[in-house]
């Protein structure tokens, strides 16, 4: 209550244009409750509706597998599935999720035995490993939509995921293996 009063008092002292901006930012920071379907489980979170799913997962649900890399959908480290389709969670506000099912790397398989995960192990893909959850989520989504991708299909689906260690050739080999399973 005091916070609201404080804000109202503050608003009186500012010019009309910035007052509008202040009001806008005030509304955008209102908390709201969301019932989210994450990895097959219903989860309730109370957050600012503009919060990207990346930070809802990491800060509010303690799912640390989804990584922060750039915050502007340029690197793919934060890739999750929304109803099975790969999306960049850093650009997905929690308010846009609705009833759609969110799958993170932790929920891709029960025992780390999704064909893509198995292929990643088999090809010993990872170096530092930081980008690999995002790479795996992109690859799993690709194979779901296109079970026999060509090399060009793989390039098209995977080029939004950056790996500075340079594991691209192994990733491609692993996707080919997973596709043949």
């Amino acid at each position: 209550m005091w916070k609201v009063l404080e804000r109202l008092l503050f608003r009186v002292t500012v010019s009309p244009t910035s007052r509008l901006a202040e009001r806008k930012s005030f509304y955008s920071t209102l908390m709201a409750t969301f019932n989210l379907k994450i990895n097959g489980k219903l989860q309730k979170v109370e957050v600012d509706p503009t919060t990207p799913m990346l930070w809802v997962l990491r800060d509010h649900l303690d799912l640390q597998g989804t990584k922060y890399g750039c915050g502007i959908a340029q690197c793919g480290a934060c890739t999750v599935h929304l109803d099975g389709i790969a999306v960049r969670s850093c650009q997905l506000p929690v308010s846009a999720v609705g009833k759609q099912a969110v799958t993170t790397i932790e929920g891709l398989s029960a025992h780390g035995d999704h064909p893509v995960q198995k292929a990643w192990i088999e090809h010993d893909v990872a170096q530092c490993g930081y980008c690999q959850a995002g790479q795996i989520m992109s690859a799993a989504s690709l194979l779901k939509m296109n079970p026999r991708p060509s090399d060009a299909d793989i390039d098209a689906a995977m080029s939004g995921n950056i790996c500075r260690c340079g594991t691209y050739t192994r990733i491609k080999a692993a996707i080919r293996s997973a596709a043949n399973r």
């Binding site: 916070k3 404080e6 804000r7 930012s25 920071t29 908390m31 957050v47 600012d48 503009t50 919060t51 930070w55 990491r58 800060d59 509010h60 640390q64 597998g65 990584k67 922060y68 890399g69 750039c70 915050g71 502007i72 340029q74 690197c75 480290a77 993170t104 790397i105 932790e106 891709l108 780390g112 995960q117 990643w120 192990i121 010993d124 893909v125 990872a126 170096q127 530092c128 490993g129 930081y130 980008c131 690999q132 959850a133 090399d151 793989i154 390039d155 098209a156 995977m158 080029s159 995921n161 950056i162 790996c163 500075r164 260690c165 340079g166 594991t167 691209y168 050739t169 990733i171 491609k172």
Partner: protein, 760 residues
Amino acid sequence: MDIEKTSYNRRSFLKVSVLSGGGMLLGFSLVAQSKPAGLKVQAALSGEGAELTSFIRITPQGQIAILSPNPEFGQNVKTAMPMIVAEELDVDWKTVVVEQAPFNTRLYGRQFTGGSQGIRQYWKSLRTAGASARQMLMEAAAQAWKVPVGEITTEAGVLHHKTSGKTAGYGAMATEAAKLPVPKEVKLKAVDTFKILSTPRQNVDGMSIVTGKPLFSLDYRQPGMLIAMMVHPPGFGQKLKSFDATAVRKMPGIRDVFSIKIFQEDYAQEIFDTRTFNELVVIVGRSTWEVMQAKKKLPVQWEPIADTVEKQNAFGQMRDKIVPAGLETTDAHYAGMKEREAQPAKELRRDGDPETAFRQAAKVLERTYTAPFLAHNSMEPLNCFAHVTAEKAFLACGIQAPEFTERAIAARLGMPIEKIDIQLTRMGGGFGRKAYGHYMVEAALISQKMKAPVKLIYSREDDMTYGIYRPMYRMTFRAAFDAAGNLTAFHVRGGGIPESPLGGSENNFPAGAIDHYLADEWTFPSNITVGAFRAPRSNFIAVAQQAFLDEVAETMGKDPIGFRLELLERAKTKPVGKNNTYEADRYAGVLKLVRDKSGWGQSSPANLHRGVAVYFCHNSYAAHVVDLSMKEGQPVVEKVTSAVDCGIVVNPEAAGNMVEGAVVDGIGNALFGNLTVKGGKPQQSNFDNYRMIRHNEAPKVIEVHFVKNEIDPTGLGEPPFPPVIAALANALYKATGKRLYSQPFQPALDKRNTGQPVQG
């Protein structure tokens, strides 16, 4: 078979003790001999701490744990180092549990990740530790069975006495073995009897990585943890003037806003301490998103810095470093380097009479190469967890140089070093950047102020614009030829902003292969902070030198590989000068291997363009042949063939991966890597304007070959990186008919495609 002494300099190197509840614990210290008296290694190995600080742990139930001393950032030491121990211990690799060792320099050495030194520095110690434990287990079995120890054999974690048919697992003998003295000498295995080493083994953390386990410091959490972010000056040459936290303090979730000084004014910075932006504004709150919003809205005023003197302590040598004032610009940097190069330089090496040879030359070839600042762009942005209380400072963090950073934290917090406790987490890349632990000092200061556990997170923009870049470089090479077209003299002049690439490499090839040789260097001061970046200095020298030698070979009408082999033959049979740092035979060895494996010299399709390069750095030799085609004016790397001599290959699976990665990373940085500044401000801040190599731009095939020998292993993280850039440059010349002298290469390729003249 090698015999290794297990103790030196009076103090024992290996320490053994009985685990509480039985079993064996073998710890070792790499630095016991260099620490002042009074620090007791034994103390750390007794009591409850023993299990934590042990190196090999064998329980009575037979569980074997091996701890890996060095921080892991993708170079796969966490698999490789325990493999070395397991080989000599003679255990079944599948049953070994690998753990990251805690940070403790008394027990585990410097625990430094960098310079491709991990395996090289620890090779003998790790083998000796494994062999000693095995020897003690055998002696325990001999005593229990009352048979001569010479009749005991081991296999995959089981002791055998063949004549009597007695067998026992290691666990059964571990408690008794731990009561025996550590053997004074142990026999190490012959290389040709290795069962684990030199066989492909998968990453011990592979499953944790593919299932998204919290391995990185960004994933580290504690109850009540707050999130902190910082605001730094938008450009170099600026510092904090003032900030107004009034509005931001009222934003939801924000707990505090304040400024911190990373180092006090009179602090003498050690080699990995940096003072890029010494005063930062910090915002602390309950969640990352809330803090990010507040960070955007915080009004901060900046002002220019004056010329500043920094005290530096380089391994005990005190000196003053002058940081110049000014808002710098990339165009001025390139112009300044050109101007500076024409002035006198500091001589590093001289053979024969180069001036006379150049004066008398029938022909001189002179070429200049440049390269920009590069940002490291590790996929995990800098971050650190810290919880500082009056009693101790606990930090969980990815750090390449923990020993140095621990000292900096202790000095800044005013706490004794014993109270600083660092948990080493896996690093999401480092490439040299995470040797500079300022972010740990920052996190510690924030936690101390907040009296709470805090995680400091850099945004990608912070990570990219905070500096510690690969320096800018410029090198000019001159080659003199006599009337018959023979190469008679060679001059290399190198410099950079603010460091020269050349010092330390002046005795590397082609020094030693040319009668008249001169190497000299210069520097150009700047307030932009630089540091180690994958294969420091070599990452430019190799490119410039190997591109130049390609052009020299062409001028002489010789095959690029044949010409280099001629020079190496000269360096071997009749070396010029002293202190040549390379072995000409091993240098030539990788060239011959890459020649044979790539089918060099054989006819290839007309649309395939090939380039070769070779380099020796960080104690290993690497050569690459790049095959590329042009598609719509853009290079498509069809295949890279790599040959590497790093001695014994510890883990061929990971070693192959490391070379493949270096090839991709090298090509990416060569084509696109570019950090420019204007008015002191970095012009790139995220992956939308700093281009990184992506899947569709990676080579289609990378074929890696290792020279087989029994030389003690050397590093692999860096050596394959520099020469691939030169091999790419040489292949691009074949494809386009134009030599490229300035990195990154992509802008020139784009200009060519749009009909604009190509620079350089």
